[in-house]
């Protein structure tokens, strides 16, 4: 025990006062010589003991009261093992960073960890006192953060009470950075960040410190138990089962064991909310293992949702993972090679063919047939019945790669087929004469072609690259570009040395999806009838550009043919993590409604959907299946199964391994993020003051007796 004002202990000398008063009182008692003392003694014999006891108790009470007053003024305190962070009362700026990631829903003794965290936060808030300016920053990834500190502690308490675990992983570093920003704007000298977190290492980025040396004091609250074992379904894929029937699907569920002990996990697969398979999996400590389920989709369903769940553990949210399983339609592509070569890699469509059928795998989802320009004559009606006849109905997409202008008859056949729902991709090249194209090919093009330009013409070899054009300004929300980020170096780094220019047009049906750095169109789309046409203004081989050898070429071509074939549903593409935005193609819909697993969602109609090829849905706050209901131009409303998608929690958040102390930012006091003093001071003077009051009350009662 210690004293904050030890000089006040001098006052303990006041202990002598009641003793002196007691003794003086005895001495100053009136003396009466009394004859009938025997009567008094006889009476007194019964009360003497009680009287003596009362006198001694009075003396004791008064002495203790005097001593207690002096000791209370000396402000005694004691220390005990710290259970929570050190909190100093008074004017100051403080930010409570609370981990509300989905891991905060971890059950400890039947109670969610977040409840303990908010209790601790309220305790800290109380101890900070009303003069402290405080903010609460949630540590979940992409959580909304407050804009300023406040003294409205009641509102902060309400916030704490309303706090629920989110469905996102923790981003502690970002939350700490925001806390530092808030504190930096405060004029208080004392600035503290109270970190109440599970301190999962996945949420801490040691290489991205939230503040420098002059940062606030960091006080961490060690609320987490030493061990937080967790099992989670970390990934789930649904692929066509090569060995199964036509409706067979293989579900590969990856289970992570984030604990120190091996675990035998019971898994179940449910398709359309019906459990169809069960299995067990032995997963060692720290291991991830995959369990494969083979199942068939329900009869008549082209697509459905499924999930794999494991037997419940303390953290339920990551025990189930959804997947969208659909029977993907094969895209049938007819490639017309306008510049065939005997050397494969010199061929006009070598790279395109490789992009559409990577590894020449059967399960690539695409079937490709390559023909020459001459062979395309087989599409004409007069060729029917001959060996070279080509039935366009067997194809979804026709690619005209560097094809010389076709005769009108062939163009008409292709145009009719396109209006009926076909898709055509046209790319220029050395064999393309814009004038000839203008004469016959316009029904197949979104816009007329003009002469190509060579941006490197006349440039010395060492300046050739610097004069090349690059792709910029593409429609990021367009289905073709959804696999790419805004920057997309896999596209932007490609160099275009020669491109075809386009002629003037007033058509409102055509749309430029991408442009080059000089502003020229790179990809133009138009809808003609029920079909679509795409004009790519450079070659599909490496003659005019080096895009085919960049990683972006494959997804760009895959997306392009799928877009033209109007087939978007594909395995794996509908799996999103919580918080990510989902791009939904609008097609011909005039209204589109998205409903989340909790019933909430969004409706796109009117200006939000008119003239757009896609809409972006960002309210993917909960894991589960999101259904899409569409209303077409005729007013017919029905569920669009092919647009449904699933949202899962980010598996990074399932790993609750604690971050090492060194990974935490350095506290402003240089304490390395841990409290300097492991003991906690408990001030005792309040209790002593209360004891003095009780003693005075007792003294009063004793005097009355």
């Amino acid at each position: 025990m210690g004293f904050l004002a030890p000089l006040m202990l001098v006052g303990v000398a006041a202990l002598a006062v009641p003793i002196a008063i007691h003794l003086i009182g005895r001495r100053r008692a009136r003396v009466v010589k009394f004859a009938a003392l025997d009567f008094l003694l006889a009476t007194k014999r019964r009360t003497a003991r009680r009287f003596r006891l009362r006198e001694r108790m009075l003396l004791l009470v008064r002495a203790i009261a005097c001593a207690a007053v002096a000791i209370a003024l000396a402000k005694p305190y004691t220390s005990c093992a710290r259970k929570g962070p050190a909190v100093t009362r008074g004017p100051q700026a403080a930010v409570l960073v609370i981990d509300d990631s989905f891991a905060a829903g971890y059950l400890i003794d039947g109670k969610r960890w977040l409840r303990s965290a908010t209790d601790e936060a309220r305790r800290i808030l109380t101890q900070l006192g009303p003069e402290a300016e405080v903010a609460i920053v949630r540590a979940a990834e992409a959580a909304d953060h407050p804009s300023e500190l406040t003294r409205d502690h009641l509102r902060l308490r309400d916030q704490l009470l309303a706090l629920e675990p989110s469905a996102r992983p923790a981003d502690t570093t970002r939350a700490l950075a925001r806390a530092a920003q808030l504190l930096a704007a405060s004029s208080h000298v004392r600035k503290t960040v109270f970190l109440i977190s599970l301190l999962a290492k996945t949420g801490v980025r040691p290489d991205d410190p939230p503040w420098g040396k002059d940062g606030p004091t960091l006080v961490t609250s060690e609320l987490r138990p030493p061990k937080l074992p967790n099992l989670a379904v970390t990934a789930l894929r649904a692929d066509p089962d090569p060995g199964g029937a036509t409706r067979g699907v293989a579900f590969d569920a990856e289970v992570g064991n984030f604990s120190d002990a091996a675990s035998k996990v019971e898994l179940s697969l449910a398709i359309a909310d019906r459990v169809v398979a069960r299995g067990t999996l032995e997963v060692g400590p720290g291991e991830r293992k995959t369990k494969r389920f083979l199942a068939a989709l329900p009869a008549g369903a082209r697509a459905t949702d499924a999930y794999v769940a494991l037997s419940g553990d303390a953290l339920a949210i990551d025990d189930r993972r959804w997947v969208r399983a659909s029977l993907r339609d094969r895209v049938r592509v007819l490639i017309v090679d306008g510049d065939p070569r005997t050397v494969r890699h010199d061929d006009e469509v070598f790279y395109l063919e490789a992009a559409l059928r990577p590894g020449d795998r059967e399960d690539s989802g695409t079937s490709v047939r390559v023909i020459t320009s001459e062979e395309l004559a087989g599409v004409e009606p007069r060729a029917r019945g001959t060996a070279g006849a080509i039935d366009l109905d067997e194809f979804d997409v026709v690619v005209l790669a560097n094809v010389t202008a076709l005769p009108t008859a062939r163009v008409n056949v292709l145009a009719d087929w396109m209006r009926a729902g076909g898709g055509i991709l046209v790319s220029p090249g050395d064999h393309v004469d814009p004038a000839a194209y203008d004469r016959t090919m316009l029904p197949l093009l979104p816009q007329s072609l003009r002469d190509p330009i060579d941006t490197t013409w006349g440039a010395p070899p060492d300046e050739r690259d610097s004069r090349a054009l690059h792709l910029v300004k593409w429609e990021a929300d367009h289905p073709i570009f959804t696999p790419f980020s805004k920057a997309a170096p896999e596209l932007a780094d490609a160099k275009f040395f020669e491109i075809s220019l386009l002629g003037p047009t007033t058509s409102a049906d055509r749309k430029v999806l991408a442009r080059f750095t000089n502003g020229a169109a790179a990809l133009v789309e138009a809808s003609i009838g029920a079909g679509r046409t795409l004009l790519y203004t450079s070659t599909l081989d490496r003659d005019w550009n080096d895009l085919p050898i960049h990683p972006g070429f494959l997804p760009l071509m895959q997306q392009a043919v799928r877009h033209l074939a109007r087939k978007h549903a594909a395995f794996g593409e509908t799996d999103h993590t919580v918080g990510s935005s989902v791009v939904l193609p609008t097609g011909d819909l005039k209204k589109l409604e998205v409903r989340g697993p909790d019933g909430a969602g969004a409706v796109f109609e009117g200006d939000r959907i008119a003239g757009r090829s896609s809409v972006r849905f960002g309210r993917t706050d909960r894991p589960g299946v999101y259904r899409v209901i569409g209303t077409d131009q005729t007013g017919s409303t029905h569920e669009r199964d092919e647009l449904a998608f699933v949202v899962n929690v980010d598996a990074r958040g399932s790993d609750l391994t604690p971050a090492p102390a060194a990974a935490l930012p350095v506290s402003g006091t240089g304490s390395g993020g841990t409290p300097v003093d492991d003991s906690r001071r408990i001030e005792l003077w309040h209790a002593l003051a209360a004891a003095v009051l009780l003693l005075l009350l007792a003294e009063g009662l004793l005097v009355q007796r």
Binding site: R26, V32, K33, F34, A35, A36, L37, L41
Partner: protein, 312 residues
């Protein structure tokens, strides 16, 4: 004759009286103050006062034959008289230490002394014999033999004065003094007046008083108490010290007042009952009570009891 003294005339304050010069004067003031409210005849008795007639029998003195009655009734009757000799009065003063207590007025011993002095004065005035015996202290050997002379009164007053001046000491019971009186009065009846607070009185004292009464002596007890001993009016932390021992008691009087008063009343009731049952003339007197009233009460009670006792 009125049996109750006229209270309106009795207002001599014992404290004021105590300031008078000498005990004889005090005694005279008390007696005159007391007698001034009474008909003289009430106490004007004689030792040869006629009491009743008795039929003559051989041996009776012829001078007591009532010839007038013979003339009327033709039978001889002899006059019988109330007292055949002088009254002998023994005054017993308790001079033990407890008698020194003075709550707010005069000490009990002083009050008792004045009361006995007045009584002695009255007795001498009636030419009866009065003696004095002090008790309470073994060292005391004060005995004034009964005499009827006026000069004897001065001697007796002197002794009383010296006793009062000496102050009360000791804790001896009055029993020894009463035993001595019993020996002295073996052959003659006497009036014995004991003035005491009876705090030292044991059962032996009360037995002796009853025994004296049984021997046909007239016994009166003036039970003298201080008003503070009856009301216990103390407050605040008080240390009570015994007068007859070294006992001390530090106490809050309020805490024990009820119990003390109950004990005191019980003591008084027991004493009164014991003495009254034995035929002792018992008077409870407080020292703030006027002395002439005390004297009158004693005299009135004596006169009321007189005929009955003679008959007995």
């Amino acid at each position: 004759m009125s049996e109750d003294p006229p209270a309106s005339r009795l207002h001599l304050d014992p404290a004021q009286l105590a300031r008078l010069a000498s005990l004889p004067i005090k005694a005279r003031v008390i007696v005159e103050g007391a007698l001034s409210g009474l008909h003289r005849a009430a106490v004007h008795g004689s030792s040869v006062e006629f009491a009743e007639h008795k039929e003559y029998s051989p041996g009776d003195e012829l001078r007591h034959v009532d010839w007038k009655a013979y003339a009327k009734l033709d039978r001889y009757y002899v006059k019988q008289f109330e007292q055949e000799s002088q009254l002998t009065v023994y005054l017993v003063l308790d001079a033990s230490a407890s008698m020194a207590f003075a709550g707010g007025g005069i000490a009990k011993i002083e009050y008792a002394g004045m009361a006995l002095a007045a009584l002695a004065y009255l007795v001498i005035q009636q030419q009866d014999k009065v003696g004095l015996l002090a008790c309470g202290d073994q060292k005391l050997d004060t005995l004034v033999p009964p005499r009827a002379r006026t000069t004897h009164l001065h001697d007796l007053m002197s002794v009383l004065e010296s006793l009062i001046a000496r102050g009360a000491t000791g804790d001896e019971s009055p029993a020894a003094a009463l035993s001595r009186i019993a020996e002295l009065t073996r052959r003659r009846r006497a009036l014995i007046v004991l003035a005491s607070d009876l705090f030292d009185a044991d059962d032996r004292t009360l037995q002796l008083l009853a025994q004296l009464r049984a021997q046909r002596h007239d016994v009166s007890v003036l039970h003298i108490l201080d008003p503070h001993e009856r009301s216990f009016p103390y407050d605040g932390l008080t240390q009570f010290e015994a007068l007859e021992s070294a006992s001390k008691l530090l106490v809050n009087p309020a805490a024990i007042r009820q119990d003390y008063l109950a004990r005191m009343e019980a003591f008084l009731a027991r004493t009164r009952a014991t003495l009254t049952t034995a035929g002792v003339d018992y008077h409870l007197v407080q020292t703030d009570q006027p002395l002439e009233r005390t004297l009158l009460e004693l005299l009135v009670t004596r006169s009321r009891l007189g005929p009955a006792r003679r008959a007995g």
